[in-house]
């Protein structure tokens, strides 16, 4: 979610006027998020490079920033475009049309032909000192499953669930329809749900 202090018209005006302290504050608050977004598509060193290039491009374009979207949305769009440019150099492309990716709903096999649960969700321990979601082994497991997701699902999950951006902002950043973003987020969540459910049952990643 964007930091409200950095999104006020007064603050944006300082930025547009070249206020260095204001720019430094934006870097302090948004750099890690932009890095998180770039890392969904690139290796860490390349992601770092894409974000640095993104800051340079953003700094240059700031006087023309009209505030039609939130500053964070605008910056994320710049960085994702840098990252996609780097991918294209390496001959890769992120496809945002979910029908072209073959990643069906990871929970589909849990239903019978009538659409009822044949393998219902297990009960997760959600509270208490040994709460499932806070266990270290599970964090590593989540990490590796997020890494292994198709690029488009990982990016949609990163922007929506990890960074908490609105669907409208995500559509704006990725230039895709809201329904496509929703499908990608759903598939990413279904994968992780299936993984956590299996972990609850077997204790294995």
């Amino acid at each position: 979610m964007a930091n409200p202090d950095l999104e006020t018209p007064e603050f944006i005006e300082r930025l547009r006027a070249g206020d260095r302290a204001a720019f430094a504050l934006v870097v302090k608050h948004y750099h890690p998020r932009l890095l998180g977004a770039a890392r969904t598509l690139l290796q860490p060193a390349d992601a770092e490079e894409a974000v640095q290039d993104g800051w340079i491009a953003a700094h240059r374009a700031l006087p023309k920033f009209e505030g039609r979207s939130a500053l964070l949305t605008w910056l994320t769009r710049i960085v994702i475009n840098q990252a996609r440019m780097q991918l294209r150099k390496g001959g890769r492309e992120v496809q945002f049309d979910p029908t072209e990716e073959g990643g069906a709903d990871a929970l589909a096999h849990r239903f019978n032909a009538n659409g009822h649960w044949q393998e219902p969700p297990r009960a997760w321990a959600l509270s208490g000192p040994d709460a499932l979601l806070t266990r270290d082994e599970l964090q590593h497991c989540l990490e590796s499953h997020i890494t292994a997701m198709p690029d488009n699902q990982r990016l949609a999950l990163q922007l929506r669930d990890i960074q908490g951006l609105d669907f409208d902002d995500i559509c704006n950043i990725l230039d895709v329809s809201a329904s496509n973003v929703r499908v990608l987020v759903h598939r990413a969540r279904a994968r992780l749900f299936e993984m956590v459910d299996r972990f609850q049952e077997t204790g294995e990643c």
Binding site: L126, I162, R189
Partner: protein, 86 residues
């Protein structure tokens, strides 16, 4: 009446707070009222999404901020030099 699989496919709207039509909201509520498996699914999906949110990145270290400012300054100097050589 919705089937469980349809609830699974629509549950994201509940997690995301997406506005639903009265009819959609009613059919989801009716199903959840009678199906404990789907109630559990929605509850745990919400918990999972909330957990992911907590992984959001903190603020940058000062040295990272400085590195960005240095790069921006350097690039500006290079651009200025190209515009006004010598």
């Amino acid at each position: 009446m919705l089937k469980c699989q349809q609830v699974e496919q629509r549950a994201d709207a509940l997690v995301d707070g997406t506005p639903l039509s009265t009819r959609e909201r009613f059919s989801l509520s009716m199903h959840l009222l009678i199906c404990r498996h789907c109630r559990r699914y929605v509850r745990q999906l919400r918990a999972l999404a909330a957990h992911l949110r907590h992984r959001a990145a903190p603020t940058a270290h000062d040295h990272q901020v400085q590195a960005v400012l240095d790069r921006v300054d350097h690039s500006r100097q290079v651009t200025d030099h190209k515009r006004h050589p010598g």
